[in-house]
């Protein structure tokens, strides 16, 4: 039972974080903004694409007389086709994401929100529709959507390891999953196969803390999950290192295999590296231009 006062304090706390997150995400997105992009083919849009000789069937209205007056031939001015794509985000908000091995490093959840929101801002500036997977916030375009996204992203989940939301996927949309993928892989498998069924392609961003890669522990230790539901005691933590790393490698391999099967991109990002590099990669991986996504 949450008291109203506590709820309000909590809400204000969340609200206080929200503009900051938004500002940082804006800043990050601004740094790698590459400008508006078209579909690289003639169609409906604002930007000039090409002049082509008028053909039979072209309305006389379409003839560009300014260009045609330079010669004997009549030209039609074509505009670049610009179409909005729907992109759905899923940012893991489970308790396991609220971990940072060092006070100088950001929490994984923090980095994940930042990346998610910055990607959303970039996409929004590119004219795409951005939203969350599931039914809570379907893709929409426009600046207000960013505010709504930031609001929803600021919420925390109490569960230790949250499975990806796979409901209500829009066919042939794009998707971005950001998580540490430490929980059960069944949810991920389910979500990816379902997405593949619907023609949704996207990006898995595997976000890890450096200590999760290095396992720099030794001595008698009791490991607990962030929510406290799981625990494991060992007498000599350093002995577990190789086996832990093997398991982690297996997990990465499994995720990569899944991605390969379903046509997704897999990317690994650590919280001690620059968010910009990750954002650049995310942007290029999500880039919907033909041939741009390698």
């Amino acid at each position: 039972m949450i008291k109203p006062s506590a709820l309000r304090a909590d809400a204000e706390d969340q609200a206080a974080r929200f503009p900051e997150l938004l500002a940082r995400a804006d800043h990050l997105a601004g740094a790698v903004l590459l400008g508006a992009h078209g579909r690289r083919r003639a169609g409906v849009g604002d930007d000039f694409w090409q002049y082509r000789p008028a053909q039979q069937g072209d309305s006389r209205r379409l003839i560009d007389y300014r260009r045609s007056a330079m010669g004997d031939q009549e030209f039609v001015r074509e505009r670049e086709w610009q179409i909005a794509q729907s992109v759905m985000l899923w940012v893991d908000q489970g308790a396991s994401m609220r971990f940072a091995s060092d006070s100088k490093l950001p929490e994984k959840a923090d980095r994940a929100r930042l990346l998610g929101l910055a990607t959303a801002i970039m996409l929004q500036r590119g004219g795409e529709r951005v939203g969350l997977t599931g039914t809570s916030l379907p893709p929409r375009s426009g600046r207000p959507q960013i505010l709504r996204l930031a609001e929803v992203l600021c919420q925390d989940d109490t569960a230790d390891y949250a499975p990806p939301e796979h409901r209500a996927m829009i066919p042939h949309a794009r998707a971005l999953f950001i998580s540490d993928f430490m929980g059960s892989l069944e949810g991920v498998t389910l979500a990816l196969t379902k997405a593949a069924d619907r023609g949704v392609r996207g990006v898995l961003c595997h976000l890890l803390d450096p200590s999760e890669e290095a396992f720099p522990f030794s001595g008698r230790t009791i490991f607990e999950s962030m929510g406290g539901t799981l625990s494991h005691e060992t007498l000599k933590a350093s002995d577990l290192k190789t086996r832990y790393l093997e398991r982690l490698a297996e997990r990465k391999a499994e995720l990569q295999r899944l991605c390969a099967l379903t046509g997704w991109h897999y990317g690994l990002h650590h919280t001690n590296t620059s968010a910009q590099s990750a954002l650049l990669w995310l942007y290029s991986a999500l880039d919907t231009r033909a041939g741009a996504a390698a």
Partner: protein, 920 residues
């Protein structure tokens, strides 16, 4: 005390505590280290993993051993172990008197003696004996106190710079008679003195007496005398043993004012000889600087002897008429006298009124006939107070009426009118030569060269006193130099000029010798009771027993006769004494002091001053146990994985303990110089901010690459420069980014920087904040820049003018963007008279490289490339940003070209080509 294997224990029963150790081992072994609880999301991957069999859940054996050793060290330490326990001497009981000679003779081995006393006090403390101290050089009622109290005061015992006098010893005997029953330890200095036998008898009446006396010989030094142009030094010794070499040092201030050894002279005691002498011939300039002589390796008042006025450098004021004459230097009336005196005396120039307050030793008046009343009176006072006035005759004196009818107080004789001249074209006779000096003359003994002739002089009137006053005469008996005493001082008149006009005397070496004789005799100080009778001398600086000079404070004055003859004592401390202008050094050992070794009757045990000191080990063992426990803390933390995570503080502490600051290696400096000079390299100042330094490095690397590709400049990798340690001269330019928190360089570093700027280096200051318009106060970086640059030798600056050579050294540029596009950068101001000539696009500007370029455009960020050559920092947007980056590179290229080629492109020879390119 129980002795086990050479180590004594004061509380041996405590050692039984060692039996507990095995039990402790078992207890400690049973307790495993506590676990750490750690939050870790990856636990999901750990589930199901089992520990190996061999995993330790118990404390490892080496950690146990560490702890057991720590406990054992505590137990053994508390048991009071003592190394070298002194078992040879009976401890004895009852009060103990420690009797010290306490004279200068023991000062050299005072430290050794203190150690022996300390060992004896330790013994006495163990035996619970009370101890009293009695010094024969300053006898006082001994206070019998616990030995431990005395140990704390031991450092306060100092030797006195004199020998125990008869009165002192008798007083000490009286004191001992008032006490009843004590044993005595007598620390003898090895010299005999009056009533020593009586003292021994009095002590033996009270209890046993043991004597501690060094086997080493006592050395002393008699006052230095100056004879025949050399200083004679005499060293003495107490025991006439085998031949021995000693080194005698002459100490004084070098020209920089530091006390150091100015000269050394070896001396050799022949076998069986009690004394040795050595002659030390020194240039008079060096001789005048000597303040004391001592025997190398000896540290006592007796082995050093102070030097007084005898060797001091004199102040001589030279005054001539015709002050403002612009004549030839060789015609200056003071030229020859100045040359003669300059090596041995401090010369003072100025008018008489100016120099008199400086109280010089000698005043020379060259051909000055009359003095005003205001000058004459203080001059007379000065002479009567001990000054020496030397006058030279000349045309003015010859023409004046001075000392004609009555003797002028400032003239030694009356003069005839006009003087005489001999051997000239209009006169009879030959020029006169000098007569040999009579034995009453201060010049007696000087060789008279045959070529010294006098062709003109002023002539003294015959007077009853004339014969006494002549100290040099011509071959016909005419006085040449006369002298009279006036108060404590004297007036000397040379009847010829100080120039070579009247005689060749100033050209000869004799002139120099005469000057030296006169100056030396002006304040010779000989310790003669007759001379000093009735005078009172105040001590200026006194010597302590070790021979160190100290300020005399307000010690009372001493009668002159006592100063000359009485032995040194509390009332007559050796040192420097002054009376008026005169200084006399009183030394402990005088010329006729004889050092007699002390001998002891056969029934008195005499020991040397060497003891194997007892070393209590308790403190060391307890410290060891603390160290072991500290090591245990670290080891325990390391074992449980907390060392580097939770207790960073402990790790830092450990690192600080282990870290030894490595001295800057000369090899490193050589390596640095090789790296910096084998190829041209750009350099940046290390600010201490890692991200800024990284960008600086990457920026200069990017610029170096650009230079390599586009120009004939092919720089090596850029080098970071630490202003404090690295040599700057190797680098054509320094890039200095400003951060608000960088440390201000030391003054040494600023000296280097200024040297660098003066020798043609260029520093590119970059505040990196694009805020340069206000230049300073506007931003923290600007303020920091002002602060950093304040001590630098920077010329006046101006915003870069449009025709500055930087705008065309390689590329034609008018904008100098970096990450920021601001245009304002500041360079050395062009000369005020630079004007544009009609038809020329540029002014003829500075001849040279501007020493600083100051801007805020963060150029390094624009130049910065990552290791694979891609730009590190985004600049601007899209193509415009790339253009800005390109312009930044062009600015860098221009800057390096400017540094390397100077004003080459400013040369007007290139104007036609440049005009052509500019399309004009």
């Amino acid at each position: 005390m129980t002795v086990l294997g050479g180590i004594g224990f004061t509380a041996p029963w405590l050692l039984l505590g060692l039996l507990v150790l095995p039990i402790l081992w078992l207890i400690l072994r049973a307790v495993p280290p506590a676990p750490i609880r750690r939050r870790f999301p990856g636990v999901a991957l750990l589930l199901g993993l089992k520990d190996d069999e061999s995993v330790s859940d118990r404390t490892p054996w080496w950690l146990l051993l560490l702890r057991i050793l720590a406990v054992a060290a505590v137990i053994i330490g508390l048991a009071g172990p003592v190394l070298n326990p002194d078992e040879q001497q009976a401890d004895g009981s009852g009060p103990l008197l420690i009797l010290l000679d306490g004279s200068w003779a023991g000062a050299t081995r005072w430290q050794q003696q203190s150690e022996v006393i300390d060992a004896q006090l330790t013994r006495a403390a163990r035996a619970n004996r009370t101890v009293g101290f009695l010094s024969l050089t300053a006898p006082q009622e001994p206070a019998f106190q616990s030995a431990d109290v005395w140990r704390t005061r031991l450092a306060g015992l100092q030797p006195e710079p004199w020998q125990p006098s008869n009165a002192n010893v008798i007083r000490a005997i009286e004191i001992t008679k008032t006490l009843n029953g004590f044993d005595t330890l007598w620390f003898s200095d090895g010299l005999d003195y009056a009533s020593r036998g009586d003292m021994l008898d009095a002590l033996q009446d009270q209890g046993t007496v043991e004597v501690y006396q060094t086997g080493a010989n006592v050395l002393a030094m008699a006052p230095a005398t100056y004879e025949d142009g050399a200083i004679t030094l005499t060293a003495k010794r107490a025991i006439a043993g085998e031949a021995r070499d000693v080194t005698l040092n002459a100490q004084g201030r070098d020209p920089a004012g530091n006390v150091r050894i100015l000269a050394t002279v070896p001396a050799r005691f022949e076998a069986g000889a009690m004394k040795t002498t050595a002659a030390l011939a020194l240039p008079s300039e060096l001789r005048a600087r000597i303040t004391r002589f001592d025997i190398a390796g000896q540290r006592s008042a007796g082995a050093s002897t102070l030097v007084d006025d005898g060797l001091r450098r004199r102040e001589v004021a030279l005054i001539a008429g015709r002050e403002n004459r612009e004549g030839l230097e060789l015609l200056s009336p003071l030229h020859y006298i100045g040359q003669a005196l300059a090596p041995t005396a401090e010369l003072i120039d100025g008018s008489l009124a100016d120099v008199l307050p400086a109280n010089p030793d000698v005043i020379v008046l060259a051909d000055i006939a009359t003095l005003s009343e205001a000058e004459q009176t203080p001059l007379l006072e000065w002479i009567e107070g001990g000054g020496m006035l030397i006058r030279f005759a000349g045309p003015r004196i010859a023409a004046s009426d001075i000392s004609r009818d009555t003797e002028d107080p400032l003239m030694p004789v009356r003069l005839r009118a006009g003087g005489r001249s001999v051997g000239g074209a209009m006169s009879w006779g030959e020029p006169k030569s000098l007569d040999a000096f009579r034995d009453s003359s201060p010049f007696f003994g000087l060789e008279v060269p045959a070529d010294v002739v006098v062709s003109a002089q002023v002539v003294a009137q015959p007077d009853p006193t004339l014969a006494d006053r002549v100290i040099a005469a011509l071959s016909d008996g005419t006085p040449l130099v006369t002298r009279k005493a006036l108060g404590q001082g004297q007036v000397v008149l040379f009847h010829v000029t100080a120039t070579a006009e009247w005689s060749t005397l100033p050209l000869s070496g004799l002139f120099v010798q005469m000057m030296e004789r006169l100056a030396v005799s002006s304040s010779s100080a000989t310790l003669d009771a007759q001379d000093l009778q009735g005078t009172t001398w105040t001590p200026l600086r006194v010597m302590d027993g070790f021979g160190l000079l100290d300020d005399a404070g307000n010690l009372p004055g001493v009668d002159g006769a006592d100063l000359a003859e009485a032995p040194a004592g509390p009332d007559l401390q050796p040192g420097i004494y002054a009376s008026g202008d005169r200084r006399i050094a009183r030394n402990v050992v005088t010329t006729d002091t004889i050092l007699t070794p002390a001998t002891w009757p056969g029934d008195v045990p005499v020991r040397g001053l060497y003891v194997a000191p007892e070393v209590p080990l308790a403190g060391w063992l307890l410290s060891l146990s603390i160290l072991l426990l500290l090591a245990d803390v670290v080891a325990s933390l390391a074992l449980s994985g907390r060392l580097l995570k939770r207790s960073n503080a402990a790790a830092v502490l450990l690192a600080a303990l282990l870290h030894m600051p490595a001295p800057a290696d000369a090899q490193d400096a050589d390596q640095f110089a090789l790296n910096a000079t084998s190829e041209m390299a750009l350099a940046y100042v290390i600010t201490g901010n890692p991200s800024v330094d990284q960008v600086s490095e990457a920026g200069l690397r990017g610029l170096s690459d650009t230079l390599y590709f586009r120009t004939s400049v092919e720089p090596a990798n850029p080098i970071g420069v630490d202003l404090e340690t690295d040599e700057l001269a190797f680098f054509p330019m320094l890039y200095w980014p400003i951060t608000p928190d960088q440390p201000r360089p030391s003054s040494d570093a600023y000296v280097k920087l200024n040297e660098y700027l003066r020798s043609g280096g260029l520093i590119l200051f970059d505040t990196r904040d694009a805020n340069i318009a206000a230049f300073g106060a506007a931003s923290p970086n600007g303020q920091k820049l002002q602060n950093l640059a304040a001590p630098l030798d920077i010329p006046p600056l101006e915003p870069l003018p449009g025709d500055h050579v930087l705008t065309r050294t390689f590329y034609l540029l008018q904008d100098f963007p970096g990450r920021h596009p601001g245009r304002d950068i500041w360079v050395e101001a062009s000369p005020a008279d630079a004007e544009q000539v009609e038809g020329m696009p540029f002014r003829n500007l500075n001849d040279g490289v501007t020493p600083v370029v100051i801007g805020g455009n963060d150029w390094a960020a624009a130049w910065a490339v990552s290791s694979n050559g891609a730009p590190m920092v985004p600049i601007g947007r899209g193509f415009a940003g790339e253009r800005q980056r390109e312009l930044a590179y062009r600015f860098g290229v221009n800057l390096v070209m400017h540094v390397l080629t100077g004003n080459y492109k400013s040369d007007q020879v290139h104007v036609p080509a440049l005009l052509d390119r500019l399309g004009q």
